[in-house]
């Protein structure tokens, strides 16, 4: 994708990404609101992936991968923040232990959503790491 000519180079007034940025946002909002982990993870990965690609296509960055990793990091941060609101104190063991509440019976809904956002962030970072390799072997 990167530095390789894509749709945008051939057709000056086309881009593949906006549609997927929009879809990604819609799916992630649905997933996070209803607390359905696979949907929020998939939606968020699509969302940040398409943003990173669109930004680099528009020429604001050379390659999308650093930005994608950054957005992934941001999601991890947001997810941790959300989960930690459910910790009863800011003691280290409480903060680490809070994640267990997401898997308790019944699970704590807020923690579940925090975890889903963290997982999406990690998936984004992984994609940013393997992406460059894939892109070169692919072509």
């Amino acid at each position: 994708m990167d530095a390789q000519p894509g749709l945008d180079d051939q057709y000056r007034r086309s881009s593949s990404w906006p549609l997927f940025v929009a879809l990604g946002l819609v799916i992630s909002e649905l997933g996070v609101l209803f607390g359905v982990i696979p949907i929020s993870v998939g939606g968020l990965v699509l969302f940040i992936g398409a943003i990173a690609a669109a930004v680099s296509e528009a020429g604001y960055t050379d390659r999308p991968w650093r930005l994608l990793a950054g957005l992934g990091g941001l999601l991890v941060g947001v997810g941790v923040l959300i989960a930690v609101t459910q910790a009863s104190a800011l003691a280290p063991e409480e903060v680490v232990g809070v994640f267990a509440k997401g898997f308790a019976q019944p699970p704590n809904g807020v923690v579940v959503r925090g975890i889903s956002i963290i997982v999406a962030g990690i998936a984004g970072i992984v994609l940013a790491l393997v992406g460059p390799q894939l892109a070169t072997t692919h072509r």
Partner: protein
């Protein structure tokens, strides 16, 4: 949710993402499939890579970042929404012809009525009103200010693509109700989503509805940022603040209003979602209070009505001079009044809350500012009338709709001034008088202006002329229909008919022969407008394919000394198309 369902969803999501990745790699590798040298010397290439501006077929529409294409997409979307909102209201008006619940009984009775009413309001404001304006501004602002495109073409496309899913979510309850055996229903919160009712309705259809509304707000905000940057920084050197056209001025002001109003709505919706799903208490009686919702909602809501009306005012200020053969009277004051309305509109919101028991001193100040906002509105009205005064008037369809706008706006505005007087409002609040007031404006003025603009610019977008007789039929059905319907509503309000009722003669809604007759009259007007709308749709679709070529100057603007940038652009485009033997920009629109 149990494990197997989670697993199934994970697999589904994986398949979906894989499909997306495949589609993307097809698109992005397009070049490897299409030899660069093919294309038979199509015009428009700037660098070696670019052989054409856009791919063909469906892909073109899914991937376009061209402001003109996006304008057309917004337009099509707005028409679909208008059809949905229109069909909903025809069912409503049919039901209201009799006092009892009968027509809709089999479809779900009062609950269905409430769902239709909620959907009608939200659809018309957020899925028709805002997008139809975005359609006009996307297509024409760059042409009017001499820009190549919007400042951020991709963000422009993102803003559009958020809307179709938003619409599906807002309407979702209607589709899911039969599919889930009534577990998910359409939202019945009314467009104002007042708490505590909107918290008490546990139906997940309301959550979907709120998400859709949130997304449409994100879309509007993205669009507004784009227009602000475009109008500030993408103008051609010849276009400066002194000669910026009036439509661009109103879009500029509207975008600023959106930027301050919509993020607030978005946050309030998130708070409402939290109240509904996470047991927060922002808007509960024991917590932040339901009145807090009303403050937040109307702090957005009143500016929203001006977000909707300012660009139509700009359209009217643009069109009336063209067919009066005179320059817009007091151009500067029209601009100043636009800016004044923009500022004042944030200081009037509590006129929607006069009967809620808020502090009387607060009410008084809001009454004063509400009365004051009538002044800049009147400045505009007088300027339109003076522009036409002694002019060389040509009653084309766009001009007819513009004159209709002025007439309806006067009635809508005057009734608004009545309502902003506290004692009058205490009698008329939550009656049909309010419904009559704002429909004179949203239908009688805003929709009229939208259609005026569509007729005016149709020759540029389609290259063809519509059938003028049919356009006149459309105008007269609408002018007569809207005045029948909405005047009857004003009278219903005086007669004490409360708004939002599916039935009357019981539960606090009075019955009298007069009330029923007025309801019947209002419904007849609605059906007359429906006929006009069908005429319009037929006319535009048929003329798109078969209308006579419009030529470079369809309105004889040159003869009247009324040249304007977008029609000059249109003439240029026709000329290059002839000398080049047709660029692909021509062949497909």
């Amino acid at each position: 949710m149990d494990l197997s369902a989670q697993l199934a969803l994970t697999v589904l999501m994986g398949v979906f993402l894989a499909a997306v990745a495949m589609a993307l790699s097809r698109l992005e590798d397009w070049r490897t499939y299409t030899p660069l040298t093919s294309g038979g010397g199509v015009a428009g290439g700037e660098s070696g890579y670019i052989t054409r501006e856009k791919p063909l077929g469906l892909t073109r529409w899914l991937t376009t970042v061209d402001h003109k294409d996006i304008g057309i997409l917004y337009g099509v979307f707005a028409v679909i929404s208008f059809a949905w909102g229109g069909l909903a209201v025809l069912l409503i008006r049919t039901e209201l012809m009799t006092p009892a619940m009968d027509v809709l009984e089999g479809l779900g009775g009062e609950a269905f009525y409430n769902g239709l009413m909620t959907s009608h309001g939200i659809t018309m404001l957020f899925l028709f009103g805002t997008p139809v304006i975005a359609s006009l501004s996307n297509y024409f602002i760059p042409l009017l200010i001499g820009a190549d495109d919007m400042a951020f073409p991709r963000i422009n496309a993102i803003a559009f693509w958020l809307l179709p899913p938003a619409a599906l979510l807002i309407w979702a309850g209607f589709f899911l109700d039969p599919m889930t055996g009534g577990a998910i229903e359409s939202a019945q919160t009314s467009w104002t989503m007042y708490t505590p009712l909107s918290i008490m309705q546990t139906n997940p259809g309301v959550d979907l509805f709120l998400l859709g509304l949130h997304l449409s707000g994100v879309s509007a905000t993205l669009g507004a940022i784009n227009f602000l940057v475009t109008i500030f920084s993408e103008r051609n050197e010849e276009v400066n603040w002194a000669n910026l056209d009036i439509f661009s001025w109103t879009i500029l002001t509207q975008s600023a209003l959106i930027l301050f109003a919509f993020p607030l709505l978005g946050s309030a919706i998130v708070m409402l979602l939290l109240d509904r799903n996470f047991a927060t208490t922002f808007f509960t009686v024991q917590g932040g209070s339901p009145i807090l919702w009303q403050h937040l909602f109307w702090f957005f809501g009143h500016p929203e009505v001006y977000i909707l009306v300012l660009p139509p005012m700009g359209v009217i200020s643009l069109i009336i001079p063209k067919f009066s053969g005179r320059k817009l009277f007091g151009f500067k004051f029209v601009v100043y009044s636009t800016l004044a309305i923009g500022v004042l509109s944030f200081g009037v919101w509590a006129h929607h809350m006069f009967t809620t028991g808020i502090d009387p001193r607060i009410r008084l100040s809001f009454m004063a500012v509400s009365l004051a906002i009538a002044i800049p509105s009147a400045v505009k009205t007088f300027n339109w009338i003076t522009t036409m005064w002694n002019g060389d008037i040509r009653l084309t369809a766009p001009m007819l709709f513009s004159v209709g706008f002025v007439s309806n706006f006067i009635i809508g505005g005057v009734t608004g001034v009545f309502l902003s007087s506290i004692p009058v409002d205490q009698l008329l609040h939550d009656t049909y008088y309010v419904v009559g007031h704002f429909h004179y404006i949203v239908m009688g003025a805003i929709a009229f202006a939208g259609f005026a603009a569509m007729y005016y610019w149709y020759p540029i977008v389609s290259g063809r002329m519509y059938q003028k007789t049919l356009a006149r039929w459309h105008f007269w059905t609408w002018m007569i229909g809207s005045n029948i319907t909405f005047f009857a509503m004003l009278l219903l309000g005086y007669d004490g008919m409360p708004r939002r009722y599916a039935t009357y003669g019981d539960q606090g809604a009075p019955f009298s022969v007069l009330i029923q007759n007025l309801h019947i009259i209002a419904s007849v007007g609605a059906f007359i407008m429906a006929i006009g709308t069908i005429i319009w749709l037929y006319n535009f679709v048929v003329s798109w394919y078969e209308g006579p070529a419009a030529g470079p100057d369809p309105w004889d603007l040159r003869e009247y000394g009324m040249e304007s940038r977008e029609f000059e652009w249109h003439a240029d485009r026709l000329e290059t198309a002839i000398t080049d033997g047709g660029s692909d920009d021509q062949s497909d629109d």
